[in-house]
């Protein structure tokens, strides 16, 4: 089901976590709430889940106003950053929890748990305890547990935040595929722009309790609404009021009209990508991204003088 958040405000004491936030989440979409810590993204998720009560505003799931409903009757499945595994229960009892609460027949529960453990690739570990699982396995168990009750909405609060980089990447791709299979409306909270762009079809950028922009990953990157989105969604060089993406800086070996002189401070080889750190003659630092091939042709090295100009730049009118 689709979700609508309408004019939601939430404060914790003096701290305004959400200021008049309105967001529409289309049915069946995978939406990321992206923002730095303290931007209100987790609070927004918890308001949707019913774990926080907004000071004002409404939450609609489907066509129904659920603002006054407790979390347990909202039909949401939630996954937490630190897994929230029920430590005293086996994997299968964890997954079965929601069904057991609903007093479903035992045979149905067993069949459903089996099906879900297969879906999250934990078939062989049904009798284990959470302490005997790796972080990635625990989080997949938590996901199966949330899916068991056939939620109308799946809410993921920094689900991969506590995992190491390699597992995180694997699980992202896996989540993407899972969403294609299950099609449940999903919201994922993350502070990692790469993660948001990789998994989500729609991204809501939050900052200081407000929505800065809503759009597809491509729209956010190519047409950022303001300075914050521009600098949060990918690296950026700022020269005065002008913003330039590192891959939109051209490096020239000979002076040309409109190109500024700069000295190479550092060349970082990251495989396919090569990052070059420069300082312009006016003291401005610049970051440039090249492909390995481009870098090799230019034969760049530290201390070398080059000439730079922007092939594409963005200026935001004062807000």
């Amino acid at each position: 089901m689709g979700i609508a958040v309408v004019d939601v405000t939430k404060s914790f004491g003096d701290f305004a976590a959400l200021k008049d936030v309105s967001v529409a989440i289309p049915e069946g979409s995978l939406t990321a709430l992206l923002g730095p810590s303290g931007s209100g993204k987790s609070t927004l998720l918890r308001v949707i889940a019913g774990l926080e009560q907004p000071d004002s505003g409404q939450v609609l799931i489907g066509d129904e106003d659920v603002t006054q409903r407790p979390a347990r009757t909202r039909g949401v499945g939630m996954v937490f950053q630190h897994y929230a595994a029920f430590k005293h229960m086996t994997v299968q009892d964890n997954v079965a929890f929601g069904l057991a609460i609903r007093k479903r027949p035992r045979a149905e529960i067993r069949a459903r748990v089996h099906e879900l453990l297969e879906l999250v690739q934990l078939e062989g570990l049904a009798k284990r305890y959470p302490a005997q699982l790796s972080g990635g396995q625990r989080q997949r168990m938590a996901l199966a547990r949330a899916l068991a009750v056939e939620p109308s909405v799946l809410l993921l609060d920094e689900p991969f935040g506590a995992l190491d980089a390699r597992v995180r990447k694997e699980l992202r791709a896996w989540l993407r595929r899972l969403h294609d299979e299950v099609h449940v409306t999903t919201i994922i909270v993350t502070h990692d722009q790469e993660e948001a762009m990789e998994v989500a079809g729609q991204i809501v950028v939050l900052n200081e309790g407000r929505v800065e922009q809503v759009g597809s990953p491509r729209e956010l990157y190519d047409e950022p609404a303001n300075e914050f989105v521009m600098s949060f969604v990918g690296p950026v060089n700022r020269v005065g009021d002008t913003f330039v993406r590192p891959h939109d800086v051209q490096l020239l070996l000979e002076p040309e009209a409109g190109a500024a002189e700069a000295m190479i401070e550092r060349v970082v080889h990251l495989g396919f990508e090569v990052r070059v750190e420069l300082v312009r003659d006016d003291g401005q630092h610049l970051l440039v991204q090249l492909t390995q091939e481009e870098a090799e042709q230019l034969e760049l090295e530290r201390g070398q003088i080059v000439y730079v100009r922007a092939s594409r730049e963005t200026v935001f009118s004062a807000r």
Partner: protein, 263 residues
């Protein structure tokens, strides 16, 4: 090498401080033969004292366990004015001498005390079981609270919130998630509460009036035998009963507690 020094010091300390005195009590109790010791603890007076001690324990432990868990939840999860004060007050019985506790109850329920009028309405608190229950509950209140609070802090609220989103109501969350998570802390608190309830002397001694065969608990009986009746072997024999109950409680926990708590 330093490993052995450490081990020796720890064992030596325990031996001198605990094992030798307790062992000596056992030795003296059975010094005149097992039959003699058995006779000493099966007199009507001794049996009554044991029964009374067990009664006090049977009332105090469940009450303080339930109240203790509720207090721990309030201290960790609650957001209300006066929480800091409550936190300090819970520790009061640990800091306060039991004799002072007994005296306070004596003043409160005694003639001229705020609640002294109860006696006139047929509610006898002082020199009767109710007063002794109150005294025992007072001194043994902190144990369950102090064991459960750190565990509640550590588990946080994630599991409970996950259960909530899965459809569990507040009572189901408590029974299926919170209680299993704190069960060993509660069990340990119960053991400490039991030990304290069985052994309490100071506070109970004051409010009970020490009436033979009526308000005499086992610890009071031990002291009477030793100090007033000069029946040292009787005192030792009764002490052994107290020690055995305590040992059984601790051993019981060890037996039922899994070697390695999963999670």
């Amino acid at each position: 090498m330093s490993k052995y020094v450490l081990r020796f010091t720890a064992l030596g300390y325990l031996t001198l401080l605990l094992m030798v005195p307790v062992g000596f009590v056992f030795y003296r109790a059975f010094g005149d033969g097992f039959g003699h010791a058995w006779d000493a603890v099966t007199t009507d007076r001794a049996v009554h004292a044991l029964e009374l001690t067990l009664l006090l324990t049977a009332i105090t432990v469940p009450a303080n366990t339930i109240v203790g868990v509720i207090l721990a939840l309030a201290l960790v999860r609650g957001r209300f004015p006066g929480r800091g004060l409550l936190n300090a007050v819970v520790d009061l019985p640990l800091a306060l001498s039991p004799v002072v506790v007994g005296l306070a109850l004596y003043l409160l329920y005694g003639r001229g005390g705020w609640l002294g009028g109860l006696a006139g309405h047929g509610v006898k608190v002082l020199f009767a079981v109710p007063g002794m229950v109150l005294a025992t509950m007072f001194v043994s209140l902190p144990f369950v609270v102090r064991e459960v609070v750190p565990v509640l802090r550590e588990i946080g609220t994630d599991q409970e919130q996950a259960a909530e989103t899965l459809g569990a109501g507040p009572f189901q969350v408590f029974r299926r998630i919170t209680l299993p998570a704190i069960r060993w802390a509660v069990a340990y608190g119960v053991v400490l509460t039991t030990a304290r309830a069985i052994g309490e002397f100071g506070a109970v001694s004051i409010v009970s009036g020490r009436i033979e065969g009526k308000t005499e608990t086992l610890p009071i009986y031990v002291q009477s035998q030793y100090a007033f009746d000069f029946n040292t072997s009787g005192a030792y024999a009764a002490s052994v009963v107290l020690a055995l109950i305590a040992i059984a409680t601790v051993v019981g926990l060890r037996v039922f507690q899994p070697k390695q708590e999963v999670g």
